[in-house]
Amino acid sequence: MEWLIALVTITGILIVFLMLGVPVFASFWITIAIGFFLFMGGLSAFPALITSLRSSIAIFTLTPVPFFILMGETLFLSGLAGGIINALEIWLQRFPGRLSAVAVAAGTVCAALSGSSLGDCAMLASVLTPDMRKRGYNPLMITGPIMAGAMLAVIIPPSVLIVIIGSLGEISVGKFLIAGIVPGLVMATLFIGYIAVVASRHPELVPPVDMAPMSLAMKFKESAVSLFPALIIIFLVLGTIFLGVCTPTEASAIGAFGTLALATAYRKMNWRILRNCVFTAVKVASLALIIATGSMAFSQLLGFTGSASALMQLATGLPVPPIFIIVATLILLLFMGCFIDQISMIMIGVPIFIPIAVALGFDPLWYGILFLLAIAMGYITPPFGMLFFVIKGVIPPDISMATVMRSGIPYLILGIVTIILIILFPPLATWLPGLMIK
């Protein structure tokens, strides 16, 4: 049981430093350094640690991360994303709970353009909240749909977290990105369906439909200019990956370039915005990927102490159906989501859970999507879901934190419903990647 002592020591040290408020990347570095010292031969193991810090991120499959972030920043800071929301409003004008549905629909489109839930949430909240308040939407129908729409950015490609999980878990990043499309759309459909039901059954929560009907031709005319850049960017990224024309890295670079070019063509780009876009992208990429620098050393530590293989043997030897173990890992991830951030969950979960799923005979792509959905729920899991804090910083102060948290619960339940659907119907995750042109 030496592995158990090692595992408890490693996780114990990590939890102590994380809870003390040491930055997540430093907590991992400290834990790994102590772990290397205790279990891997003292100071003589340190050169391997230094090398692994660099090697962990000098990986081609991780290079889309800064490009996807640059794409998202360009969309938000240039104002291109705002036009997309206006265009979607035209198409959903007769829908019950129109602006709530627009929040989810805009979240879905923005998710296909950027990989940042936090950025999407701040943008959607700042654009939609004033209008929703003016029209008399109940706060529950304002914050809930906005957070739910923003959460989709984690699932619908281009998603930064998909790239990181795929890269660390040795799942094909291209297939994994495409695999996120159907579950993301299923989730968005459930969200919009829920909004329609609530708006119909509780009309006091949303104002009545107040826009005059518009002809189809008029709708196309009004929305074409604003939706055109979105369609181009979606094709540049997802289309080129799906058709096998580009690798995810190449597609993400083309997407970033295309977004910069479109923002310039729409006269929404200047030197100040360009500078902000690039520097913000560098900052966000650095704070996300610096955590991943410890991934290789952390896996080495788990491997060297025998923890990874012992956990795998334990899981595969349990006298329960394998699907129970998968469900248990997902419940554990949902619980972790209440307290820690997504990249930490990836760092801890990927080296342990994905090998277990593979050893149990499950498709890593299918499990990867379940893993992704479980950690995405962490964005709206009380009490520390990150989107609560982002949206609270943007909405009027009279909407309390309790209301914000309460508004997220139905969407959290619908997210869990999506997880159950994918467990029951695996092709929801695996069908589309199977159609990809190699």
Binding site: L20, V24, T63, I254, L287, I291, D341
Partner: protein
Amino acid sequence: MKPLQKVISVLNTIFNGSLLFTNGLSAFLLFFMVFVMVAHVIGRYFFTAPIPWAIEFSEYFLAIIVFMAAPMVLKEEGHVVIDVFTSRLKSRHKAVVTTFNYCIMSLMFLLITGWGIQVAYKHFLSGQTVWKTYQTPLWILGIFVPLACLLLLIQSVIYARRYWKIARQASSEDK
């Protein structure tokens, strides 16, 4: 201005300049990578002439971007932190815990800087290269880790001192 203050002010200017430079280098490399990858794809499909070093160097650039931007992110206190418990502490206690955190971080950055320089120097002496097409010397890639950690170390020491002052101030106000 006293001579010591003058020296500190000059060191401060040099340090801040270094942070701006490393952050600027990261931004430049990101922008450069976008154009290189686009040119690589266009070259491959339209001129049957891809850029042969694009893929290999994009991996190295990614590592450089991440490490070189990290000190500036620390200066802005922008790194991801789990403040589940620390957010509930009184300001004085929080300042004490933060001081402790930065001291521990300083120690760790010091270790990594020292070992990192040693590893890079060994690679330099042995002339080891990366086992890829361009055989880039390992020390060039390896030196960015201790370089970033040196800047992270200085920033951590600055913050440890600052938060210690805050803790002491809060303590004297309580009295």
